[in-house]
C-alpha cells in the first residue's frame, strides 16, 4: 500500500486545485455573462428588487394570484416537499382542507375545475409557476376584489403564459403579479 500512498497524496492535491478551485472559478467567470450574472435572476418593480424570478414567494392577499402551497413556508433557505405518501390520511385531509379553503375564497368557481397543483405542495416548496388553468381559475376572485373586467385578467394571464414545443405550459406567478399591479 505504501508504494501507492505518495502518488495518491500528490494526485489528490493536484486534483483539488483543478476541480475545487480552477473549475468553479471558471464557471463563475463564464456565468458573469449570463442573465443575473450567476447570482440568480431577480425581478424588479420601480427599480426595486421584489424577488427572484425562479423562487416562489407567499401571496396571502386574495387580490393577487397565489402560488402553489409550500411545505416549507416558501423558505428559500431550506427547500423541500411534504414527503407525505399518497395514501397517508393526514395528507389527504390537508388536501381536502385546501379545497374547502379555496372554495370559500373563490365563490362561484366550479369545484371540478380546480387543478390539483393548487391544493398540493410542490417538490421544492418554491415552485414559481402555475399552469395556465391554475392562474385562470383565480381570475374571478381577483376581478371581483379589484373591480376590473375579467376579460382583461384573462388576457393578462394569456400574455404571461410561456408555451414551448417540449414540456408543459406555465405562468410565472411573481411576474404576473407585478404586471397585475401595473394594470390600472
Amino acid at each position: 500500500m505504501k508504494k501507492y500512498l505518495l502518488p495518491s497524496i500528490k494526485l489528490t492535491v493536484a486534483l483539488l486545485v483543478l476541480l475545487a478551485v480552477i473549475y468553479p472559478l471558471l464557471i463563475a467567470g463564464i456565468a458573469k455573462m449570463a442573465p443575473g450574472a450567476g447570482d440568480g435572476v431577480k425581478v424588479y418593480r420601480d427599480g426595486k428588487v421584489v424577488g427572484y424570478e425562479n423562487i416562489a414567494q407567499a401571496f396571502s392577499d386574495d387580490t393577487y394570484f397565489q402560488p402553489r402551497p409550500s411545505a416549507v413556508g416558501y423558505n428559500a433557505a431550506g427547500s423541500g416537499g411534504s414527503n407525505k405518501g399518497p395514501t397517508n390520511p393526514e395528507f389527504l385531509k390537508t388536501v381536502q382542507d385546501r379545497i374547502d379553503t379555496f372554495m370559500v375564497h373563490n365563490p362561484g368557481v366550479n369545484k371540478a375545475d380546480i387543478p390539483t397543483e393548487l391544493v398540493t405542495a410542490s417538490g421544492s416548496g418554491l415552485d414559481p409557476d402555475l399552469s395556465p388553468e391554475g392562474a385562470r381559475i383565480q381570475v374571478k376572485r381577483i376581478a371581483t376584489l379589484r373591480r376590473v373586467p375579467e376579460q382583461k385578467l384573462y388576457d393578462l394571464v394569456a400574455a404571461h403564459t410561456q408555451k414551448s414545443l417540449l414540456g408543459p405550459s406555465k405562468v410565472n406567478v411573481l411576474k404576473l403579479n407585478v404586471a397585475l399591479d401595473e394594470l390600472k
Partner: protein, 572 residues
C-alpha cells in the same frame, strides 16, 4: 400533454445520439489512441504524471490496480471526514453554517466517496461552500472516475487473449477526469448558468417580497457542482430539494440537459466496450437487454403517475394530473416519471420531484430499479454489476447444455463463480438485513432514549412507512442516493448503519468483477469453436435477463409485497 411526451422521447433520443458519439472517443482514450483533446489536455496529463512520479507505460496486475484504487479512496475518506467535521472553521462559509456532527460527517464522507450521495443534511444549512467544492464536487469527480477506471481494467482483461498486466490505474483514472468528466462538465455547467442556476460565490441574499415579508434566498457556486453531479451519476444536490429546486433546475431546458447528462456516460460506456474489445454485437445485446429492462420499469411508472391518485380524484376536483404532490409545474408529470426511472436504474439518485409522494406502483418500480442496479447502471459500475450476472448466466447455460462454461475465450471455474455468487448475494443481504434490523428496533425499542426515538423515525404510517426504511437501505446498497426523504435519517442509527452498507456495497462489487476479469485473463485462451456458447446472441441476452429476474424477484419479492405492493392494493 402531448408536448410533455414529446419532451421525454426527445430526451431519450438525444441521450442515445450523444452516447454513440462519445463511445468512439472514450474507447480511443482508453486504447491510448490519438484524440482531439490531446492538444488541450495532453500537457496537463503529463504534468500530473510527472508530479506524482509515475510512469505512464508501467502496467499493473489486477491486484496492484485494486491496491492503488483502495489506497487513494481511503485517503479521500479520511480527508473528507475531517473537512466536514471542521467546516465551520474553514474559509468560504458566508452563511455561517455549523460543522457536521461526527456521525453525520462519517455518513456524508462515505456517501460521496462511494458515488452514492445520500444526504442526511440539507445543502442550504448543512454544508459550507468550502465543503460543497472541496469535498462534494471533488468527490463527485473522483468517485465517478474511480468507477470508470475500474471498468477500463475489465475492458483490458476482456480484450486480451492471455495477459497478467492490465494497464496503469493512474492513467485510466486521470484520463477519466481530464478527457471525459471535466470537459463535458464545463459544457453542462455553462448551459445551466445561462438558464439561471447560480454560479457566483455570493452568500445568502435577503430580499423584501411584494407583500413585505423578508425572504432569505440561498445561492452559491452551484452550476459546476450540478453538472458533475449528473454526468458522474452522483446525484447529491446543492440545495435540499435537489433538482426539484427552481435554482438547481430552473426550466425545461435545464431539465432535459440534466436528465440527458446523467444517462450519457452509462450508455456510452456500453458502446465503448463494444469498440474496445472489438465485439460490437456483444455490446448491442447488452444494450438491448438493459433497454428492455428500462422500459419494463418506465412504462408502469408513467402509467401510474399519469393515472394519478384516486383518493384525490374522489374529492371532486379536476381529475387530470392528480399526482402533483411533490412535483413542479415547469417540469410536469411525464418528465418527472421519466426522470425517476432513469435516476433509480443508473444510480444517480438526483430527484426532480419527491419520490416519497409518488404513487405506490412508482415506488415499487424505483425500488426494483435499484435492486437490479444494472440497467445501464452507474458510471462504470453499472457494467461491472451486469458482468456478474453474465458470469452467472454463462455458468448456468453451460450446465444446461453440458459444456464447460467459457466467456470471451476463458474458462469460468469454481473460484470465479464463488466470487460472482458472493457479490450477487451481497446486495440483497445488505438491503434485507438492514431493513429487518431497523424494523426490529422500531417495533421492540420504539421508545429507546435516543436523540430521535425510533417510533418517530417514520413520516408516514402503515405500508408506506415500511417502504421508507426499505428504500433507505436499497438506495445505500445500490449507491443511488435518492430517498424517501420523510425518514428521520440524520441521527446516530441511520448515519452509521447506512454508512456501513454504503461502503460495503461500493467496494466489494468493484473488487469482485475486477478480480474475476483479472483471474480469467491470466488463463489459457481457448479459440472459439462449434462447441463454444455464444454470448453475443439474443438467446444469451434472454438468459442473462432471466438470471437477473430470478435473483431480483426471488430475493426482493417478499419485501416489495410488504411495502409498495401492499400499499398499491389498499389504495381506493
Amino acid at each position: 400533454m402531448n408536448s410533455e411526451y414529446l419532451g421525454i422521447i426527445f430526451s431519450y433520443i438525444l441521450t442515445i445520439c450523444i452516447a454513440l458519439l462519445l463511445a468512439r472517443y472514450i474507447a480511443k482514450v482508453f486504447l491510448g489512441e490519438k484524440v482531439w483533446t490531446d492538444k488541450l489536455f495532453g500537457p496537463l496529463d503529463r504534468f500530473l504524471f510527472r508530479f506524482m512520479g509515475i510512469k505512464e507505460e508501467e502496467e499493473m496486475t489486477w491486484k496492484e490496480h485494486l491496491k492503488a484504487l483502495l489506497t487513494i479512496n481511503m485517503l479521500w475518506l479520511v480527508y473528507a471526514f475531517f473537512v466536514l467535521l471542521f467546516q465551520d472553521k474553514l474559509p468560504l462559509n458566508p452563511d455561517h453554517n455549523p460543522g457536521q456532527t461526527p456521525d453525520l460527517a462519517f455518513n456524508t464522507a462515505i456517501s460521496f466517496l462511494v458515488n452514492c450521495n445520500l444526504q442526511d443534511y440539507s445543502g442550504e444549512s448543512g454544508a459550507t461552500y468550502f465543503s460543497q467544492l472541496f469535498v462534494v464536487t471533488f468527490l463527485q469527480f473522483v468517485s465517478a472516475a474511480t468507477g470508470i477506471a475500474a471498468l477500463a481494467i475489465v475492458f483490458k482483461a476482456l480484450k486480451e487473449k492471455t495477459v497478467t498486466k492490465l494497464g496503469n490505474f493512474w492513467v485510466y483514472f486521470t484520463k477519466s477526469i481530464t478527457r471525459i468528466l471535466l470537459p463535458i462538465s464545463i459544457v453542462i455547467a455553462t448551459v445551466l448558468a445561462f438558464n439561471g442556476t447560480p454560479a457566483s460565490f455570493k452568500g445568502k441574499d435577503t430580499i423584501i417580497t411584494m407583500q413585505g415579508d423578508t425572504q432569505n434566498v440561498s445561492r452559491g457556486p452551484a452550476a459546476g457542482m450540478i453538472a458533475i453531479k449528473h454526468l458522474g451519476t452522483n446525484g447529491g444536490g446543492w440545495f435540499g430539494a435537489n433538482s426539484a429546486h427552481p435554482l438547481e433546475n430552473p426550466n425545461y431546458i435545464t431539465n432535459v440537459t440534466e436528465i440527458v447528462a446523467q444517462v450519457i456516460l452509462p450508455v456510452a460506456l456500453i458502446f465503448a466496450m463494444g469498440i474496445y474489445i472489438r465485439r460490437k454485437k456483444f455490446a448491442y445485446i447488452v444494450f438491448g437487454v438493459m433497454t428492455v429492462g428500462m422500459f419494463m420499469l418506465l412504462i408502469p411508472t408513467i402509467v401510474s403517475e399519469v393515472h394519478g391518485n384516486p383518493a384525490i380524484a374522489h374529492m371532486g376536483i379536476n381529475g387530470a394530473n392528480t399526482a402533483m404532490e411533490g412535483k413542479e409545474v415547469r417540469l410536469g408529470i411525464p418528465a418527472s416519471a421519466y426522470w425517476t426511472t432513469m435516476t433509480t436504474i443508473i444510480s444517480t439518485g438526483s430527484v426532480n420531484c419527491m419520490h416519497e409522494s409518488m404513487m405506490p406502483m412508482t415506488g415499487g418500480m424505483q425500488l426494483l430499479g435499484m435492486m437490479i442496479n444494472c440497467f445501464y447502471g452507474g458510471c462504470g459500475v453499472g457494467i461491472l454489476n451486469y458482468y456478474i450476472f453474465i458470469i452467472i448466466a454463462v455458468f448456468i447455460s453451460g450446465l444446461m447444455v453440458g459444456r464447460t462454461p467459457e466467456f470471451m475465450g476463458h474458462k469460468v471455474e469454481a473460484k470465479e463463480m464463488k466470487i460472482a455468487a458472493i457479490i450477487a448475494l451481497l446486495h440483497p443481504f445488505l438491503i434485507l438485513a438492514g431493513t429487518a434490523i431497523s424494523s426490529y428496533v422500531i417495533v421492540n425499542h420504539g421508545g429507546a432514549a435516543w436523540t430521535v426515538q425510533p417510533k418517530n423515525w417514520l413520516n408516514n404510517p402503515g405500508y408506506h412507512g415500511f417502504s421508507e426504511m426499505l428504500y433507505q437501505y436499497t438506495s445505500c446498497a445500490a449507491n443511488n442516493g435518492s430517498g424517501f426523504e420523510g425518514l428521520a435519517d440524520n441521527n446516530m442509527f441511520w448515519n452509521v448503519t447506512a454508512g456501513f452498507v454504503l461502503i460495503l456495497a461500493r467496494f466489494l462489487p468493484i473488487i469482485g468483477p475486477v478480480a474475476i476479469a483479472g483471474i480469467m485473463a491470466q488463463k489459457k485462451f481457448i479459440p472459439e469453436s462449434a462447441g463454444t456458447l455464444k454470448t453475443d446472441t439474443a438467446t444469451f441476452g434472454i438468459m442473462t435477463m432471466a438470471v437477473i429476474m430470478i435473483i431480483a424477484a426471488l430475493a426482493f419479492f417478499p419485501s416489495l409485497a410488504l411495502g409498495p405492493l401492499a400499499e398499491y392494493f389498499s389504495m381506493k
